[in-house]
């Protein structure tokens, strides 16, 4: 009976005409898509596209072919007699089954119960840089990126969800490369970047994760045939001075006249002025900024080969990056080589080994050279008649600038460079023990060494004239990480439980050595030739870290998810009794869109509610902070000398952050995707340098004191606004608001750098400025006025009054360096093979202390330093009755002392990048035997809208020597750049 039925069906299916149908499948950018499933609808007949995106299938006219591929929207196409089918698949707005790399383990996007953002390589292409932070700026909600300097080779500062620690030291997030903590990578080798923001996700890294975690995954081979990719970028960079322009001869001459205004008649005594300042000075116009800042070229060349054959896959690449600095004699060059290989040794064992080698060379600059470039007068010519920089010292006549220094001559006669070499070797072994149990051992060995060279020739003017100076510093670092985990995975019906447990060992060894000397013969710049004032220094340190790691993931029917992790860590940085700490975390989510009742509403792609709570920490305070120490780094008349260095504190322990996060993801119509997160992170036992009375002989002691809470909301929207067959407009918006409050501090304490103070007290935000308050200029006298606060004995304010006596001005809280909210806007316009992308970044509500104005807007206190061109609303007081912003130069005592006069609004809106790209169509490309060809042009830092009257409103957030968060000092300006890119695949 069955046989007869079969025959009848067979006859029926044969009776229609069945032909060979072939076609190609591409993505929207005309890249071929291998691995796409092509199925005749409602049947089991199907095939898969090959490495060239081609498929062949037996079908007849009128059959509907259904094409599906992870990350793309399913598409149907009807078979029409004889024609080759070219199908273009559109990207899914929400890639539900996309696998997200979470570090120790990977998860599907739908399974994640935490706040995680993913940026893939495509999204990084609009910015040509060597720094990852610069490339993700404005693209991830809640992540603030600050380029505090435009110096070639410098890294940006990244802050995720505000500031959760106040101790000095490393404030950057934890980096994980290819699943192992630490590591080095080149941006051209990046496949994806995953940013973990809450404890549910960072819980696995708990002990080190309170500043967030950035996971970088480098490229792997995809399918079969070897793929060669060659990318080249060439462009120009120009220094962006923002609103800062220094005066020319004429303007400076006119401004200097203010010093000769008669205090009685309020008229300028021109006769005396011309006597002291000859009129011919107006014709001398030397533009220091133009002569010192010139456009620089940036180049990036990248070549990679990847392929997969049976059990072996490889990715090998090399990148050369060369950035000329815009400031004279600065630049950065880098060579990076990477080889990733995966080898399936047997059915059960996989071996992966990655090696990354990087060598870079930086030509840096001396701060004072930049300082004088801005402040020297336009009346002084740096060059002689042959065009070479002149030697200037205090005996040189006819030099008007305050300090007889010609920075261009100094730069010609000095070198400040740095060479850095690093090597990282990863070895990962994966063993499948049983069906449900496997073992992974991930190991990394890192070596890095750096050498700095600072040299000033005896020919340079200044303190090293006739002496010369050389300083060289060599640092070496070796690191070793070994993580050994057992992983299990059980599935029964709708229940799935998996997890891991194991331990990790992490050691670091660091040493440095330096030499310094003077008395160099002309033309030689190595330490051996230094003949006097020789100094040596050198020491070493180590750190040890041991951890027990575990995590369990449970899901029911892929609808309810629960993740719990538990870590126990021990670090050598804390005293023996408080060395060990525990870090638990738990996260849960409900994928509502997977529920049965939701299946009828097909307009929802994803709807998920998630919550997480966990504890993270930060052990990186440096070694031996709890011991009472005397330092042996000095001598007295050639004898060893020990000097009090550190007060002991055997109670010092971990600071921990309790992180709570609630999130909601939803996507609908396959066109809109929306994520909102609300969080509260409280760091307890903040490690602070607690102020001691100076009369004890110590400034600080390392202590645990106080708490800081970061509360905020993050919001990200990704929408395909318009989508037709050949045109698409996509918009992304992100917004993040963070509020930061300190508590639990017994006695408020201050940090002060260069006379600018910030206070740390209960109920205030971190980085709150404390300065005398500037009230303006007295219209009757032209004198500066500040606010004086009168208090009674209990400290209550009785009255406020104006005073022109700076010593009486009361320091008060006047502003804060942290922004109220930050975010970005991205927009992509795609028409067939042409794509236009723009990225905007915005920041609102932060205050910047414009410390350079004290030197460039000096009210005549420094008559031989140049002034900055004033803003339109600046008015100098000239006679009684004037409403002015700037005091009379004759009555301006202490007017440029630190006060809120120089505290400015740092809000800005910037067009960060614009990128226009053309991907050549496949047919054209195939004719020249290539697999892909793409041409693009990027412009970065196109324009900035800001009220900040200085170089640029992106200001340092790192606490360090000579620098305070929110203070804008003489810095290497950031750049505008325009770059042309070519990408060839074969």
């Amino acid at each position: 009976m069955k046989k007869i039925l079969f025959l009848i069906v067979a006859v029926f299916s044969v009776s229609f005409v069945n032909a060979q149908v072939s076609g190609f499948v591409f993505d929207e950018e005309s890249n071929v898509l291998p691995g796409v499933t092509v199925v005749i609808k409602s049947t089991n007949t199907g095939t898969v596209t090959d490495v060239d995106g081609a498929f062949t299938i037996q079908a007849k006219d009128g059959d509907i072919l259904e094409l599906s591929f992870i990350g793309f929207q399913k598409q149907d196409i009807t078979v029409k007699g004889g024609k080759t089918l070219n199908v273009y698949l559109k990207q899914d707005i929400v890639n539900m089954d996309e696998v997200v790399v979470m570090g120790y383990s990977d998860k599907k996007k739908t399974e994640i119960s935490s706040s995680v953002a993913v940026v893939d390589a495509e999204q990084l292409k609009d910015v040509t840089s060597d720094d990852l932070g610069t490339m993700i700026q404005g693209k991830v909600s809640g992540v603030q990126v600050v380029n505090s300097t435009g110096q070639p080779g410098s890294s940006s500062q990244i802050r995720i969800r505000g500031i959760s620690t106040i101790k000095p030291g490393n404030e950057e997030p934890l980096y994980v490369v290819d699943g192992i903590i630490g590591g080095t990578f080149d941006p051209n080798d990046i496949e994806t970047v995953t940013i973990l923001k809450d404890a549910g996700a960072t819980g696995m890294y708990g002990a080190r994760a309170n500043k967030g975690v950035i996971i970088v995954t480098t490229k792997k081979a995809k399918e079969g045939k070897p793929l060669v990719t060659f990318k080249t970028s060439v462009g120009m960079r120009m220094a962006d001075q923002g609103h800062l322009t220094m005066m020319n001869s004429q303007d400076f001459y006119n401004t200097t006249q203010e010093l000769y205004r008669d205090p009685e008649t309020h008229e300028i005594d021109k006769i005396k002025f011309y006597q002291d300042f000859p009129q011919s000075l107006q014709q001398r116009d030397f533009n220091w900024i133009e002569e010192s800042f010139k456009p620089g070229m940036v180049q990036n060349y990248h070549l990679s080969v990847s392929g997969k054959k049976n059990d072996f896959s490889y990715y090998v690449s090399g990148t050369y990056y060369d950035e000329e600095g815009t400031f004279t004699n600065t630049g950065y060059k880098k060579l990076n080589l990477r080889a990733n290989t995966d080898y399936k040794i047997s059915k059960r064992v996989t071996l992966r080994n990655n090696i990354n080698i990087r060598n870079s060379y930086t030509k840096s600059y001396d701060y004072m050279d930049m300082y004088y470039t801005y402040l020297n007068l336009p009346w002084d010519n740096a060059f002689d008649s042959t065009g070479h920089a002149r030697y200037i010292d205090s005996k040189t006549p006819d030099w008007w600038s305050r300090d007889n220094i010609n920075p261009l001559h100094t730069i010609d006669n000095s070198d400040h460079n740095y060479n850095d070499f690093s090597l990282d070797y990863d070895l990962v072994l994966d063993v499948k023990i049983l069906d449900w149990l496997s073992f992974t051992s991930s190991n990394r060995m890192s070596f890095s060494t750096g050498k700095s060279h600072d040299f000033v020739s005896p020919l340079a003017a200044g303190t090293f004239h006739d002496k010369g100076y050389i300083y060289e510093n060599q640092t070496n670092w070796k690191g070793f990480v070994s993580t050994n985990l057992f992983k299990f995975n059980f599935e029964k019906g709708k229940h799935n439980i998996n997890g891991l447990a194991g331990f990790e060992v992490n050691n670091g060894y660091f040493n440095f050595m330096s030499v310094e000397g003077k008395g160099l013969p002309e033309g030689f710049d190595v330490p051996s030739v230094a003949s006097n004032e020789l100094q040596i220094a050198g020491s070493n340190t180590k750190d040890y870290f041991r951890s027990f790691i575990s995590q369990v993931n449970y899901n029911y029917n892929r609808t309810y998810f629960l993740t719990a992790s538990y870590r126990i860590d021990a670090t050598s940085n804390f005293p023996p009794d408080s060395r060990i700490a525990h870090f638990p975390s738990i996260a849960a989510s409900w994928l509502m869109s997977n529920m049965d009742f939701m299946n009828n509403m097909n307009w929802w792609n994803i709807m998920k509610i998630r919550a997480s709570y966990g504890v993270t920490g930060d052990p990186d305070i440096g070694a031996s902070r709890y011991m009472g120490l005397f330092s042996l780094n000095t001598q007295y008349n050639g004898n060893p000398a020990a000097v009090p260095y550190q007060l002991q504190n055997y109670n010092l322990t971990w600071e921990k952050t309790n992180e709570l996060n609630l999130g909601f993801d939803f996507g609908f119509f396959n066109r809109f995707n929306f994520t909102v997160d609300v969080y509260k992170n409280v760091t307890k036992n903040l490690i602070v340098l607690a102020s001691q009375p100076l009369s004890q002989g110590f400034e600080y002691r390392w202590e645990n004191a106080g708490e800081v809470a970061n509360t905020g909301i993050e919001f990200a929207l990704d929408a395909i606004a318009v989508q037709t067959k050949s045109f698409e407009w996509r918009v992304g918006l992100s917004f993040a608001k963070n509020k930061n409050i300190l508590s639990g501090i017994d006695k408020p304490f201050y940090t002060t750098v260069g006379g600018v103070s910030q206070i740390y007290r209960n109920d205030a935000e971190i980085y709150t400025f404390v300065l005398p308050k500037w009230l303006g200029v007295d219209p009757e006298t032209g004198a500066p006025i500040w606010e004086k606060i009168n208090k009674d004995e209990q400290g209550n304010i009785i009255s406020r009054e104006e005073t022109s006596n700076y010593a009486e001005a009361t320091p008060q809280e006047v502003g804060n360096a942290l922004p109220d909210f930050i975010g970005g806007i991205n927009t992509t316009l795609r028409y067939k093979n042409l794509e236009l992308f723009a990225n905007f970044v915005y920041q609102y509500g932060n205050d910047i202390y414009n410390s350079t104005r004290r030197y460039m807007d000096h009210d005549g206190h420094e008559p031989y330093y140049n002034y900055m061109e004033p803003a339109d609303d600046w008015v100098r007081w000239k006679k009684p009755g004037d409403q002015a912003t700037h005091p009379s130069m004759l009555n301006a005592e202490l007017s440029r002392e630190n006060s809120s006069r120089f505290l400015e609004d740092g809000s800005f809106f910037r067009l960060n990048s614009v990128s226009l790209a053309y991907t050549f169509p496949q047919q054209m490309v195939k004719r020249i035997k290539l697999r892909g060809l793409k041409l693009s042009v990027n412009a970065n830092n196109v324009f900035t809208i800001t009220n900040f009257w200085g170089q640029d409103p992106e200001v340092n957030l790192q606490q360090a020597d000579w620098s305070m968060p929110g203070v804008s000092d003489f810095k290497y300006p950031i750049n505008k750049q325009i770059v042309f890119n070519l990408e060839i695949k074969l």
Binding site: A641, A892, W962
Partner: protein
């Protein structure tokens, strides 16, 4: 499945135990000793003592970074001599040293805060050694006793210098109610502590110096303290405290020890470049070539420049040069280096004539290197002379004055009697000023003799002055800063704002 779970559990427990047994994780610094291990090595206390001396000359990190301008001796000389009428300010500057000229100090200025801090750090180091030696019987040999004495000396010396800058003169009101400084007697005492009275502070210093004198060996090396150094400092302290007989007694002890001789007129001009080797030095701070701060931080940099070596912004004042002009043979002229133009006139900077000062230069021929002398033999004579003068013993006072003059090229111009219009104290003070100008003496000498500060010459101590305002032909008049009363409240520096905030028991000036 069960077997799997068992294996799994075993592994977990092993891993847990591995983490728990983390005792071998102590990391000791490679270039620092722990406080507890100082007594354990043979040279521990010697190294800490050398460390205490080194803090006079080193730049230590303060407020998070090393500012080359922050060094004990630099602030010690600048905070005193820039407030005197021996040095004129040639240029306004951002550097807080400017406020010493203008008497516009504030509690947050870096130089005064560093000076306070480093003085107390030296005191902490001294207390550390004192407590170790007093607390353990094994340190009863002569070498350890000498080290103990040196540390008592350093503790007293630092407290006394703090007193000079942060407290009123002994004779300005009642020393039993006027505030002195915070007395630190232990390295581990409570942080919050009030200031002692002026009287208590003087007595503390004197008591320490007497203990020190008994413990220390006799003078041998200039760079270390000695019995005679304690006596010399006692003669100075008693002079300030107006106990003239005691000042004379200790001065006599130093002079009668026979350990020192005055430099002669021929050799004095090179004394400061060679203070470590001279028999006139009682105690100097040793600077080696690796301690050369160069332009950014050497004491000489502000006072002298060869075109490149220094800032060269502060010069010998008209007032001081007028005093020296009484006799052009005075070899003390050799420390004033006039800068001439090509046309033979004195060069001016910002309208002020340039007269460089070279007392802090030329060790090993380097314009920025010297080993500053903190106590020297001629001061002892002058301490005694002034004490005699206050006791109205004219003859003995003039003897001491002439002993100095004989060795300074003025052997033909001795003072045989007090000139009309002056007192014997005036005569001694004038000689003291000629001799000890720029050495942290004049400004305090005037105050303790109730002499107002007169600076009736052009300079940037006049607030608001611009180069256009300098009239070369007429002396300045009508400015507040020209005369400052001897007991002006801003003659005393503010206690650092950091101390006031962290130590509520300390009352501000």
């Amino acid at each position: 499945m069960m077997k799997g779970i068992k294996i799994y559990l075993v592994v977990m427990i092993v891993a847990l135990l591995a983490v728990q047994s983390c005792t071998k994780m102590d990391v000791f610094p490679s270039d620092q000793i722990t406080t507890g291990s100082i007594p354990e090595t043979a040279d521990g206390i010697l190294n800490v003592t050398n460390g205490n001396y080194s803090m006079f000359k080193d730049v230590l990190e303060f407020n998070g970074f090393k500012d080359d301008n922050n060094c004990y001796v630099r602030q010690y000389f600048q905070m005193s001599d820039f407030a005197s009428n021996d040095i004129v300010c040639g240029q306004k500057t951002e550097d807080p040293l400017y406020y010493s000229f203008t008497y516009t100090h504030s509690p947050d200025q870096a130089n005064a805060r560093y000076f306070w801090y480093i003085s107390y750090k030296i005191i902490n180091g001294a207390n550390t050694v004192i407590e170790i030696i007093n607390g353990d019987d094994k340190f009863n040999d002569d070498v350890s006793k000498d080290l103990l004495g040196q540390n008592y000396f350093l503790r007293a010396n630092c407290h006394f210098n703090l007193l000079r800058f942060y407290s009123k003169s002994y004779n300005d009101g009642d020393p039993n109610s006027n505030l002195g400084v915070i007395l630190r007697e232990s390295a581990s005492e409570e942080g919050e502590k009030a200031r002692a009275t002026l009287e208590e502070t003087y007595n503390f210093v004197i008591s320490d110096l007497k203990i020190a004198a008994n413990l220390m060996k006799s003078h041998s090396l200039n760079e270390y303290a000695s019995k005679e150094a304690a006596w010399a400092l006692l003669s100075r302290v008693y002079l300030y405290k107006e106990e003239y007989n005691l000042s004379i007694a200790y001065a006599d002890s130093v002079i009668n020890s026979g350990k020192f001789t005055l430099e002669t007129a021929a050799s004095f001009p090179s004394y400061f470049a060679n203070s470590l080797n001279s028999n006139e030095s009682i105690w100097s701070i040793a600077f080696t070539s690796s301690d050369n701060r160069g332009k950014f931080g050497s004491i000489a940099s502000m006072l002298y420049s060869d075109g490149n070596s220094g800032w060269g912004e502060e010069f010998a004042s008209d007032s001081y040069r007028e005093l020296l002009s009484e006799n052009m043979n005075d070899v003390r002229w050799s420390f004033i280096d006039t800068l001439y133009n090509d046309d033979g006139n004195v060069q001016t900077k910002n309208g002020i004539k340039v007269f460089y000062i070279t007392k802090f230069s030329f060790q090993d021929g380097d314009p920025n290197l010297s080993s500053p002398s903190m106590l020297r033999y001629s001061e002892v004579y002058l301490n005694r002379g002034e004490s005699y003068a206050h006791l109205n013993n004219e003859t003995s006072a003039l003897d001491d004055v002439n002993t100095i003059r004989e060795n300074r090229g003025l052997e033909n111009d001795l003072v045989n009697s007090v000139p009309s219009g002056k007192t014997i104290v005036d005569v001694v003070l004038e000689e003291r000023r000629r001799e000890l100008a720029f050495e942290s003496s004049t400004v305090f000498d005037n105050r303790r003799n109730k002499i107002d500060l007169e600076r009736k010459y052009w300079g940037y101590h006049i607030k608001g002055l611009t180069p256009a305002g300098v009239d070369q032909n007429n002396p300045p008049s009508g400015y507040d800063e020209l005369v400052i009363p001897w007991n002006d409240s801003r003659g005393v520096y503010y206690i650092p704002v950091d101390e006031i905030i962290a130590n509520p028991l300390c009352i501000q000036n």
